[in-house]
């Protein structure tokens, strides 16, 4: 058992040495694989971040109901009862126009401008928290409210978030397609590298076959080479993504500070990183396997 492991380790060492011989060609190959992988993987990370953000925002949809300026206290009371009894409404708050003005003064720093106003331009408003539902049921609720008397305007705060979510689903599909195409490219790169290797080692393969090497013995170094090159490409992709996100996070921090929020891009999770590495290793192995299956049979000693 030990002997077999030692043999495999020897083959692995030799394969790794061969990747970096000549060093520049090997590094370029790894870089190509790394870039090809980092594109879809990096976009996936950005999408994940965007999705997290959208979920945060759309998780608590609100409907703002602005009443007309001539709504009296008993109109308001009537509406409040109506809303409270509505099956789709979870709970609601009433925001009187004076309170709204106060809030506006405090939160926007426009106190001077607002102080100069002769009268309060804001209407009374309800903020309705609907029960969880999909975008369509929220839409129905909104239309229903809009038709009530003394209701001036109804705003569904999360509508844009739902739209964004749909957009993100679309983008995710686009990333998947890109990832499949670039995976094929990776397989092709490995296929070709191995083909060249087999050609340059034609003599060795022929001699090995003549003195009793099994196909497995001949195939092994090439498979290890492909897998190792894939793995190193995966590591390159991981480094590219991590470095890019680190670069992006600094200006992003400034930007989100300006919007008075705190938002940082999260890098790949441990699980995702491991998947990336295993996936690239597998693709490299697959490319090598296809190449070996295709080209090794053509070399028969004469």
């Amino acid at each position: 058992m030990n002997r077999i492991i030692a043999q495999h380790l020897g083959v692995l060492r030799a394969a790794t040495r061969r990747i970096f011989n000549p060093p520049l060609a090997g590094l370029l190959n790894i870089l190509v694989i790394g870039i090809a992988l980092s594109l879809p993987a990096g976009m996936y990370v950005l999408l994940q971040n965007a999705q997290g953000l959208v979920q945060q925002l759309s998780g608590t949809p609100q409907i703002s109901v602005f009443l007309s300026m001539d709504a009296k206290a008993d109109d308001i009371e009537k509406l409040r009862k109506q809303f409270a009894q509505h099956p789709a409404v979870d709970h609601l708050e009433f925001v009187p126009r004076d309170q709204a003005l106060q809030q506006l003064k405090q939160s926007t720093g426009l106190a001077d401008v607002i102080g100069g106003l002769e009268k309060n331009p804001l209407p009374d408003a309800f903020v309705i928290h609907p029960k969880p539902g999909n975008a369509q049921s929220l839409d129905t609720l909104r239309n229903e409210i809009a038709n009530l008397p003394k209701v001036e305007q109804v705003q569904l705060d999360s509508a844009w978030a739902y739209k964004l979510e749909a957009l993100l689903r679309f983008a995710t599909l686009a990333v998947l397609i890109l990832a499949s195409l670039l995976s094929l490219a990776l397989i092709a790169v490995t296929f070709n590298t191995i083909r060249l290797q087999i050609l340059t080692q034609r003599d060795e393969i022929e001699v090995a076959k003549l003195i009793g090497a099994s196909n497995g013995f001949i195939r092994r170094p090439f498979l290890y080479f492909g897998a190792m090159q894939g793995l190193l490409g995966g590591i390159a992709a991981y480094l590219i993504i991590t470095a890019s996100l680190a670069l992006l996070n600094r200006p992003l921090a400034t930007l989100s500070q300006l919007y008075a929020s705190q938002f940082t891009l999260h890098s790949l999770s441990a699980g995702d990183s491991l998947s990336l590495l295993l996936f690239s290793l597998y693709l490299g192995w697959l490319g090598a396997w296809l190449s070996v299956a295709r080209h090794l049979a053509q070399i028969e000693p004469r």
Partner: protein
């Protein structure tokens, strides 16, 4: 040990390299295969190692019909043979030691045992001091001896040699024949092809003479 029975080999294109060849070589026997260039000597040796397959007839090695052997079984046949190639087939991307190591790697020997065996084989052919050299730096005779070392390192029971003294001067040729005789003495079965009748001076050694693909005579050297 090796048995040909009415073997015919025709190459694509119609050239008949061997026709109706039958002979037997017993275990531990040393035999020479002679004939002019193109008489079919190389083809005959290739049939034994299943590098080529006969069109008809049977080639038995250790009672196994190698002409119909499946591709997956070939490695195990060849591990049992030591083959010395006419063109040496040495690998110039590694040193002398690693060239001889290759058959042991293929069979999966561990590091210590392989090192021991490689040194023993190199010592046998007198190349122990050159183990770090690249084969390209060796003379023709040394390359031939390196090829022998690689063929015997696995301790095969059958040794096939295709023109091992082909382009060597007489002294080197004598050296190499002496090496072969020493294998013969320890019970290895040998089949050596040569067009050089000068080396066939040993009494009692069997000679198979090929002419245009046909076995002309199998006789022992007169004493």
């Amino acid at each position: 040990m090796i048995s040909f029975n009415q073997v015919r080999k025709r190459y694509p294109g119609g050239f008949e390299a061997l026709s109706n060849v039958s002979f037997d070589i017993a275990q531990g026997e040393m035999a020479f295969l002679t004939g002019h260039s193109g008489a079919g000597k190389s083809t005959l040796l290739k049939l034994i190692a299943a590098i080529e397959r006969p069109n008809s007839g049977s080639v038995l090695v250790n009672n196994q019909n190698v002409g119909v052997l499946k591709a997956g079984a070939l490695p195990f046949l060849r591990r049992n043979l030591g083959i010395i190639f006419q063109d040496h087939k040495l690998l110039f991307d590694r040193n002398v030691f690693d060239n001889v190591l290759l058959p042991l790697q293929i069979c999966g020997f561990d590091h210590r045992e392989s090192t021991k065996r490689v040194r023993a084989a190199l010592d046998k052919v007198g190349l122990l001091k050159r183990e770090k050299s690249n084969p390209i730096a060796l003379s023709g005779g040394e390359q031939q001896r390196l090829c022998i070392a690689r063929a015997i390192v696995n301790r095969p029971s059958i040794l096939l040699a295709d023109e091992p003294t082909g382009n060597l001067d007489a002294d080197y040729a004598q050296d190499i024949m002496a090496i072969f005789k020493s294998f013969h003495q320890v019970g290895v079965t040998l089949l050596i092809s040569t067009h050089d009748a000068g080396v066939l001076q040993d009494p009692g050694v069997r000679v198979l003479n090929l002419k245009q693909g046909m076995l002309q005579s199998t006789h022992a050297m007169p004493s």
